[in-house]
Subunit: 120 residues, 2 copies
């Protein structure tokens, strides 16, 4: 884990709320929620949402708030939801957020692009 992440017990809800109070970041959460059953996503797979540079920015926000974990894999970055940590700290909270995040139009757009990318 080479990037700085807050410890589980240092995750603060005000920071989490601020991190999630943004459409783009909610859409990222929605994609992760649908795809991270196994191993999360790599930043590039979220390309439909916004530019590469901007993704770096938003993923960092989520990481600093303790919402996601980012693990380098070669030149890629694997992004996963910190489900266990969030559930332990704020029971039920993440599920509520996910339920609304996966309804966002942006998520569907990106998931379609992800699907096309996998087929290509």
């Amino acid at each position: 884990m080479s990037l700085p992440h807050p410890d589980a017990d240092q995750i603060a809800l005000p920071n989490v709320l601020a991190a999630l109070g943004d459409e783009t970041r909610l859409a990222i959460i929605g994609c992760l929620a649908r795809c991270d059953a196994m191993n999360g996503l790599v930043c590039g797979q979220l390309g439909g949402l916004t530019s590469k540079t901007n993704l770096t920015y938003h993923v960092a926000k989520l990481r600093e708030a303790g919402v996601v974990n980012v693990r380098p894999e070669g030149t890629k970055r694997r992004v996963t939801l910190r489900r266990d940590d969030l559930d332990a700290r704020f029971p039920g909270f993440l599920d509520t957020v996910i339920a609304s995040a996966i309804d966002l139009p942006l998520v569907d757009i990106t998931l379609r692009q992800l699907h096309e990318a996998v087929q290509a």
Copy 2:
């Protein structure tokens, strides 16, 4: 109810998250959570947080997102949490938020001022 409020079934979590992703508004929620067992608070009682004008702004944000109800009482405005509506729509969510909101330093400052105001 002379001010516009969203119906219970129109409360959208992205809006709620955006409304709560702000220190001042979280502090308002914290005060309400401690004081609204009976009948909520009046804007003036939140005076320790920020200016009158700014309170109007933040309370409106919370109202528009569906987090609070604002009811005119003469020249005052009684502000209450929309507990039932939020619990019905996002079970457990509000309790989680409140638990962290009442720990905010700003809340204690304001509650002390409220206490002093009541004694005076």
